[in-house]
């Protein structure tokens, strides 16, 4: 079974802090994704990566950056957390277009 793990299930940070969300997959998938999920808005793509050190902006990249130094690991960085970044963050990986496998999510609260 594909396993996608995220470093934290729940996280509370203060406004202005730098926040790192880590995601690791164990199936050698080339594609990895970061989404945020908010009630009524569904899933919105922040960034995705199709290879090591490669990244593409999604629909809502503002205020976020990403890093992919190794194939299995994709990090989402909030440079200066703000309260409007309070959300559920979901990481996913995929092999080509054959469906995505999601991690359990990180619920981030910024106070």
């Amino acid at each position: 079974d594909v396993k996608v793990t995220q470093s934290s299930r729940y996280l509370v940070k203060r406004t202005g802090e730098k926040v790192f969300l880590e995601c690791v997959q164990d199936m050698d998938h080339e594609n990895m994704f970061w989404y945020r999920q908010d009630p009524g808005l569904g899933l919105r793509l922040i960034y995705f990566s199709y290879d090591v050190k490669m990244k593409e902006k999604g629909d809502i990249p503002e205020g976020y950056s990403v890093s992919r130094e190794k194939k299995e690991r994709f990090s989402l960085i909030l440079e200066s957390a703000s309260t409007n970044q309070t959300s559920m963050y979901l990481c996913a990986s995929s092999y080509r277009g054959q469906g995505q496998y999601f991690g359990p999510g990180t619920r981030l609260t910024v106070t």
Binding site: V4, N31, F33, G40, L41, G42, L43, L45, F48, Y50, E56, L90, A92, S94, Y95, R96, G97, Q98, G99, Q100, Y101, F102, G103, P104, G105, R107
Partner: protein, 114 residues
């Protein structure tokens, strides 16, 4: 532009009743098609997928979905719903050429009445 529409925001069914969740998509060609389920506080789990061939696909947990090209639809069905099926369901399309573009509907929340 690609889009996925799930017209039902919320559905309530009785345990043991049949279920159909609707999904329509707008896409230039036949995309890859997926259904996911999300239990409260959890990530999304892939229920089933359609790439090509037989338009009726079987998935996990007793779910099936039918691709209808003429209607641009990919509706999810289950003959008899169990209380544990209460969750949020998402339809998604995937782009065939690059395989790294996915578009999600806004989800349908399912409540199951005992």
């Amino acid at each position: 532009a690609q889009s996925v529409t799930q017209p039902d925001i919320h559905i309530t069914v009785s345990e043991g009743a049949s279920l159909e969740l609707r999904c329509n998509y707008s896409y230039g060609a036949t995309p890859y098609l997926f259904w996911y389920v999300q239990s409260p506080g959890q990530g999304l789990q892939l229920l089933l997928k359609y790439f090509s061939g037989d338009t009726l696909v079987q998935g996990i947990k007793g779910f099936e979905a039918e691709f209808k090209r003429s209607q641009s639809s990919f509706n999810l069905r289950k003959p008899s719903v169990h209380w544990s099926d209460a969750a949020e369901y998402f339809c998604a399309v995937g782009e065939r050429n690059t395989g790294n573009q996915f578009y999600f509907g806004t989800g349908t929340s399912l409540t199951v009445i005992p």
